[in-house]
């Protein structure tokens, strides 16, 4: 208080005592209920340090008060699954007053009347509730074929092995244990009746141990017979017929063998089990490896079928082109559209993600990947050298190659082979193709291994060589022919002038390549001479054509070649 007064003094505020008592008054009026006024007054003007709050029992929410209590009662009940009407008691929700106890006897069913006398004997307990016992519905029995009569048995079911009594015993047991064969076989203990007649004892063998298979066979036979007596097989429903078939086809011997095998399987030694586990593991490994091998191979094949890209990299040589490429790459990355080049849902290969294909561009590589490739290959070479040098045989075996010069980036061997078949001129390419098809070699190699490619290269070289040789030889031949024609013409004219009849002339010698210079000189005259002969003497031309009939294609090639020759000359 003093502190507050000092502060007011210092700040030159008027000392106001009024509002505080006023406030106090208010607090006093709000005094909590639990404290008497006198006691509260003793507290003085200081408020207690602990807030006094009342802990009041809240009770149930108000809306619950409207609910009615639903009482439970110990109610008697009977179970319809029982035949003796045993009355047991359990706790049950009492029924609402809709059905007052006075009205209870009225709707009582007739079955309740049966229980009535017993209850009276005890005391006048309340009657069991009328509703059916909820668990009675679980009392179910399997449906079995009806029991045979004496007549049925005598006609259909007689057996050497099974007496009537034992069959009865078996069928009783099956009914009692609901066809649980394991239990039936366990409890089966048939005591043959001790007849006084000696014959009967002689017929019925002394106590005999029956296996489960024997019991099953007998029972299934009986049941199937009874089923077919009930309905002939033609009238059976599908399920019934199936059951009938199954029971008829039961083979006890086979079942016994199966069980013997099962017992053997169960009693294996630890070693056998371990061995089997190992074999299974191995099998699993093999199958899983096979799967991965197949997928890898499929990927490889689908990669081979990629159309060859025919773009060039010139547009990426400039820095502007490179930045554009980077843009495309980023975009492709962003859109995450991993369109696989393997058409049918195979694993997306790294090749499938290269944007060069997606963008429809030529096979271009970013400088980064180039560098990486180079580095990688260098590194691998280094390590190879470090590790050990392989003999040529081993190199061949492992497919190790040494390149003179490593080209940047990835390329396919098949592409390289393909490039060989592309000559400078279209005509030459066609010729190569025709030569290859004559040799029955596909344009695209099936298995472009290193060796195949090398051989292919050699083959193409020799084909080229041969083609060149043929070209030359055809040229020479044509020149010879022209010259001969000119010579014949000359001789004819000469003879006409001299009046000498036509003699036989030996063919002139074929000129060698060395005489090429002369041939060229001759050619100019031959050209004019040929022009003359084509114009003036078509007969000769036809003759020459006919002579070369079997080399028709070569002839046309020849003429084309000579024409181009002429053009060059001009």
């Amino acid at each position: 208080m003093a502190a507050a007064a000092d502060v007011r003094d210092m700040l030159d505020l008027p000392a106001e005592g009024q509002p505080r008592p006023h406030k106090k008054q208010k607090v006093v009026e709000k005094r909590p209920e639990g404290i008497t006024r006198e006691l509260y007054a003793l507290l003085g003007e200081r408020a207690p340090p602990i807030a006094i709050n009342e802990n009041k029992y809240k009770g149930r929410p108000k809306w619950m008060n409207k609910l009615r209590v639903r009482p439970w009662s110990m109610a008697p009940f009977t179970n319809n699954a029982r035949s003796d009407g045993l009355v047991l008691h359990h706790w049950q929700r009492k029924h609402e007053s809709a059905r007052p106890p006075v009205a209870a006897p009225a709707p009582e069913g007739s079955q309740m009347e049966v229980d009535q006398p017993k209850e009276e004997a005890k005391d006048d307990a309340p009657k069991p509730s009328e509703q059916e016992y909820a668990f009675a519905k679980y009392n179910i029995k399997p449906r079995l074929p009806q029991r045979y009569t004496d007549e049925d048995y005598a006609r259909h079911l007689k057996s050497e092995d099974w007496s009537r009594e034992e069959t009865d015993y078996l069928v009783d047991l099956v009914t009692e244990y609901d066809i649980r064969w394991v239990v039936i076989a366990d409890r089966y203990d048939y005591q043959p009746p001790m007849d006084t007649e000696p014959d009967a004892n002689a017929i019925v063998p002394a106590k005999q141990f029956r296996t489960m298979e024997q019991m099953k066979a007998r029972y299934y036979y009986v049941a199937a017979t009874m089923l077919s007596l009930e309905h002939p097989p033609s009238e059976m429903s599908e399920a019934e017929f199936e059951l009938h078939e199954k029971m008829l086809k039961f083979d006890p011997d086979r079942e016994r063998d199966r069980k013997e095998l099962a017992a053997l399987q169960l009693n294996r030694t630890a070693d056998e089990v371990r061995e089997e586990a190992m074999l299974l593991e191995e099998l699993k490994r093999i199958t899983s490896n096979e799967q991965s091998f197949i997928t890898e191979r499929r990927e490889l094949y689908s990669r081979l079928e990629v159309p060859i890209s025919v773009g060039n990299t010139t547009m990426y040589q400039s820095s502007a082109g490179l930045s554009q490429l980077l843009q495309t790459l980023l975009q492709a990355d962003k859109s995450k559209k991993r369109r696989s080049i393997l058409g049918d849902g195979a694993i997306p290969s790294p090749a499938g993600q290269t944007p060069t294909h997606a963008g429809g561009l030529g096979r271009a590589e970013t400088p980064v990947t180039q560098a990486a490739n180079k580095k990688g290959s260098m590194a691998s070479r280094d390590t190879q050298q470090n590790v050990r040098t392989l003999t040529p045989a081993e190199e061949a075996r492992y497919g190790v190659q040494h390149h003179e010069r490593v080209t940047a980036g990835v390329n396919f061997r098949s592409d390289r082979a393909q490039r060989l078949t592309q000559a400078k001129s279209n005509v030459q390419t066609q010729k190569l193709a025709s030569a290859l098809s004559e040799l029955e070699i596909p344009v695209r190699l099936f298995m472009p291994t290193e060796r195949v490619c090398k051989d292919f290269e050699k083959l193409i070289q020799s084909v080229n060589l041969l083609l060149d040789a043929r070209k030359v030889s055809e040229k020479v031949e044509s020149e010879i022919r022209v010259l001969e024609a000119a010579k014949a013409e000359r001789e004819r004219k000469y003879r006409e002038a001299a009046g000498i009849p036509e003699p036989e002339h030996p063919h002139p010698q074929v000129k060698t390549e060395a005489e090429d210079g002369d041939a060229v000189v001759l050619d100019s005259s031959a050209g004019s001479a040929q022009a003359q002969s084509t114009n003036e003497n078509p007969a000769t031309q036809g003759h020459a054509h006919g002579a070369e009939g079997n080399h028709k294609r070569s002839a046309s090639v020849l003429s084309g070649a000579s024409e181009s020759n002429k053009r060059q000359r001009r």
């Binding site: 047991l88 359990h90 668990f135 394991v182 239990v183 099962a262």
Partner: protein, 471 residues
């Protein structure tokens, strides 16, 4: 599931009819209401008999342990095989098990409860009240029996229940089946390690397979005899157990030193019978079994070589021993011996020889692995793998430390092919009262109420009905 929500009608199959479940065993008798999770009443099956004031008196329940009355002798109505021998006393002990805790005292006749006393001359003579109030007249009773209970014993049981106790409905179930039910299995191979017997019971669809039921006497009492044999051959000095009632004071001594205790002595005419002392010694042995005894966990036998080439005994020696103090203050650390006393449950050759013991040396066929083998050989080959995958362990003596591990290893070694799975509840009471809990579950099922043998049926067919109905 939120416990405040009522269970779905479709999944809740219970319907409680306040049935009483009575599971009499050799050592203890368990009784309680069906639907509860543990028996309310647990009393020893032993009863005490003594003479006072010239007449014979009987005491039941835990009272038998308390006072060493003069001439008090302890008896058991059940024989070593688990079958009831003394039917009169069995009936009384069983009756005590449920009347003491469960059914309680009925409100007495108002004429006799002392509140309405009127002068005796005014008592009308014709108001003679029938005094033979039957204890179970409003509770159905589910009782248990071992799988090898003979027909006569079963008939006698239903006779007692129906005629002496006046139960409205009765059922007799096998302990093995109930133990399987307690683990939620309808088909199982139940390994029950009790006080007087160990038994193997194959169960298929809730029914025992009689040809596979095997039992042998290597139960808790046999282990006690082995411990006694061990104590006799103890190395510094043979150990004798002095029960608490014979000791008035004791002083702490170092391990292995002679005990320093003041003993109580009873004059010959005041002393209780020797059987009383045996009972109390057995209590100490029970404590010893709980604290010290350990089953060698396997996978190989204690006498065999371990996987590292060191013999298992040497391995066991390296593990720290366990101390135990006897009532007279004598204490000792038990090393490898604590494994030896139970090894003969698995390996007959490992039994500690004791010519004075009431137990014959065990034969190999009596050991647990052999019993399981014989049991499985008695059932159809098709269900053997399934049984092995559902091995249920129950019984108080199966609580021996490391027992289930060893059993698992033994079974796996014997049957390396099929999958072996041992189910043993970790909860002590669930293991001890396995068959009672199964009975509690069974008797509170709505579908079970059609299985009871009612009084009417009993009257119609006689006691033989139990053979037909409780299969």
């Amino acid at each position: 599931m939120n416990p405040s929500n009522p269970p779905q009608a479709a999944e809740y199959g219970g319907d409680e009819v306040s049935a009483i479940v009575l599971d009499p065993g050799y050592a203890t008798t368990r009784a309680g209401f069906a639907g509860e999770d543990a028996p309310k009443s647990l009393i020893p099956t032993y009863y005490g008999k003594y003479n006072a004031d010239g007449q014979e008196k009987l005491i039941y329940g835990d009272d038998i342990f308390v006072t060493p009355r003069p001439g008090l002798s302890i008896h058991n109505p059940i024989n070593k095989d688990g079958i009831v021998e003394d039917w009169d006393m069995a009936e009384k002990v069983w009756e005590h098990s449920f009347t003491s805790r469960l059914t309680g005292t009925k409100p007495g006749n108002p004429f006799q409860n002392g509140l309405n006393d009127i002068p005796s001359e005014e008592l009308p003579t014709e108001m003679e009240v029938e005094s033979d109030e039957k204890p179970l007249s409003d509770s159905p009773l589910l009782m248990t029996e071992p799988g090898w209970n003979p027909t006569k014993a079963r008939e006698k049981t239903i006779e007692i229940a129906m005629e002496k106790w006046d139960t409205p409905a009765f059922y007799l179930a096998r302990t093995g089946v109930l133990a399987a039910f307690a683990s939620g299995k309808a088909s199982a191979l139940v390994v029950d390690i009790g006080a007087s017997n160990i038994s193997i019971t194959p169960i298929h669809d809730g029914m025992i397979l009689k040809r596979g039921v095997q039992h042998s006497p290597l139960g808790g009492d046999y282990i006690s005899s082995q411990i006694n044999a061990l104590f006799k051959s103890n190395s510094p000095q043979p150990i004798t157990i002095t029960p608490h009632y014979l000791i008035s004071a004791k002083a702490a001594v170092e391990a292995g030193q002679t005990p320093q205790a003041k003993y109580k002595t009873f004059p010959a005419d005041k002393a209780p019978d020797a059987s009383y002392r045996a009972l109390l010694e057995e209590r100490t042995l029970g404590e010893f079994k709980e604290c010290v005894v350990q089953v060698w966990p396997g996978p190989t036998r204690l006498s065999a070589l371990g996987p590292t080439g060191v013999s298992n005994e040497d391995m066991a020696r390296t593990s720290p021993g366990r101390p135990f103090e006897f009532p007279d203050g004598y204490n000792q650390v038990f090393g490898v011996e604590r494994f030896r006393v139970v090894e003969s449950l698995f390996d007959a050759k490992a039994a500690i020889p004791d010519p004075e013991s009431s137990f014959a040396p065990p034969t190999p066929a009596q050991t647990i692995p052999e019993l399981v083998k014989a049991s499985l050989a008695g059932v159809d080959v098709d269900i053997r793998p399934h049984l092995l995958a559902n091995v249920v362990v129950t019984g108080g003596s199966s609580l021996l430390y490391g027992f289930t591990d060893r059993l698992n290893h033994e079974l796996m070694q014997m049957f390396p092919g099929p999958r072996v799975r041992v189910t043993a509840p970790g909860n002590t009471s669930e293991r001890r009262f396995g068959s009672w809990i199964g009975g509690s579950i069974l008797a509170s099922l709505g579908t079970f109420h059609q299985m009871w043998i009612s009084k009417k049926e009993y009257e119609e067919h006689g006691p033989n009905i139990v053979e037909k109905r409780c299969k």
